[in-house]
Amino acid sequence: MNRKISEKLIEMLLFASAATAIIIVALILIFLVKEGLPIITKVGIIDFCLGMRWNPIAMVGDPTYGIFPMIVGSFYVAIGSLVLAVPFGIACAVFLAEIAPSWARSLLKHSIELLVGIPSVILGFVGLVLLVPFIKDHLGGWGFSILASSIILAIMALPRIISISDDAIRAVPMDYRDASLALGATHWYTIRKVILPSARSGIVAAVILAMATSIGETMAVLMVAGNVSMLPSPIYDILDPVRPMTSNIALEMSYATGDHACALFATGIVLFIVVAVLNAISHRALKSRMGVER
């Protein structure tokens, strides 16, 4: 019976390993809330999330903690990156799945893997030395901008959008393709009318996931966004700088103390919730797609 006991012990050990992930998530929540909640209750959740002024170290008067411009900034650069990356990424995915000869497919696939591997700090650095001066010289403004951030985030999002969309397109049954082609449709017409619509839910999931990742990305945007915590004016001016939530934390955490540090943890809470909601939506989209396939 010794054997039975050791079997049971091993199972318990494995269970403990498995439980680690959920314990870490719980600890993250506990610490974020412990550090961040006091300032939210002090300032008021509405004033914190919708406040326009972020002035944690006030020379005159009370410090203010309003992160609305940063929430807007996070969504702005993330949506901007999707506007660039989604059409381009889907085009690459269609190319991969439908028309690429095998040499081109393997070349592009390997390049994408290489692109995934490039650390975000290096992408941010290249943005800083190439993209920012380019925008400044040719399009105007300061260079550090929503546009620059969106482009860098788009480059980061591209591999994920391409590979998930590629999978989604390849999952479309061959019969659909054949049926359409047999009716005399051109390849492009078949792609547009049959294949892309069938792969739609998978692609949508990829896009939402990419958005969550973009909102959660720090280094790449930190180096090119300009980090001014104001709404762009006019609001559609993509050459204006912004400060996304992630940059806010990264920039100020090293010297923040007291309420200021708490406010950065509170920024982390908002960021966590936004990303978690987007991830949940994306997972639901992916699951429902699998459900249909089975």
Partner: protein, 282 residues
């Protein structure tokens, strides 16, 4: 539109656009890598790789950052690999279909989705302050562990699930216990996939910056123990570039980091190929 352009013309035009998209994707990659290499290759030398930095890194080498990165990886992997594989074995082989299992899987998914800067914040509050590890290799490595753990669980679970059930049946029918079966048949069959996943996990962790910013510290001295602060290579690049200390040094450091990532990815591919050849059935 379709009235003006014939379907055949549209088909041709579309294919041109698709080829162009793929070309542009390649071009972006080439520009990024090419630019860094061209700008930084003259910095690379033995004294750069093996020297200590001077003037905040404006001159000298990057050895402490390379060593720091290495030790962070060691701590992250030593902590995440056993736990991650254990969790994967539990989820793939033992877990009953219950609410508890669902919660665990959900936890893995959740952790995978936490933005790295939030993990950094948490690592600072929990490891550096609450547990008193300070800014150190230990704090940074454990924070990286939080980041790579879900990845390792996922890839290991996938590889374990691809092991044919026939192996498990055969082993059990010989009177093996469940754990004997897992240890002697399932894990050895899954090990190529797990190894590849772990190596790719290192590749992800090695370039990570936001997680270690407020956990590993930014000291440019050579770390002597687990409790010494270090400045990892990516963070070094960030500081060199964003504080305008030295762009050439940043390019040089970027090349080193890229080579590390590339080497890691190539190792993963090589392992996959090697085992792929030996273990393909029929």
């Amino acid at each position: 539109m379709s009235a003006l352009i014939s379907p055949v013309t549209a088909d041709k035009a579309a294919k041109v656009v698709l080829w162009a998209s793929a070309g542009i994707a390649l071009l972006i990659l080439a520009v990024i890598l090419g630019y860094i290499v061209v700008q930084g290759v003259h910095v690379i030398s033995l004294s750069f790789l093996l020297g200590s930095p001077r003037l905040s890194g404006a001159e000298g080498g990057i050895l402490p950052a390379i060593v720091g990165t290495f030790w962070l990886m060691v701590v992250a992997m030593l902590s995440s690999v056993p736990i991650g594989i254990g969790a994967a074995i539990y989820l793939a082989e033992y877990a009953p279909k219950s609410a508890v299992t669902a919660v665990i899987s959900f936890g893995v998914e959740c952790l995978a989705g936490v933005p790295s800067i939030v993990i950094g914040l948490f690592g600072y509050a929990f490891l550096s302050i609450y547990l008193g590890f300070g800014f150190s290799v230990l704090s940074g490595g454990l924070a990286l562990m939080f980041m790579v753990l879900p990845w390792i669980v996922r890839v290991s679970e996938e590889s374990i699930k691809t092991v044919p059930n026939a192996f498990r049946e055969a082993s059990l029918a010989l009177g093996a216990t469940k754990w004997q079966t897992v240890r002697r048949v399932v894990i050895p069959s899954a090990i190529p996939g797990i190894t590849t996943g772990v190596i790719l996990g290192i590749g992800k962790a090695i370039g990570e910056t936001a997680v270690i910013m407020f956990t590993a510290g930014s000291s440019l001295l050579m770390p002597m123990s687990l409790f010494d602060p270090v400045r990892a290579l990516p963070y070094h690049i960030y500081i060199l570039a964003s504080e305008g200390i030295s762009d050439p040094m940043a390019y040089g450091s970027s090349i080193v980091l890229l080579v590390m990532v590339l080497a890691i990815n190539l190792a993963a591919i090589a392992i996959q190929r090697h085992y792929g050849r030996h273990y393909v059935r029929n």
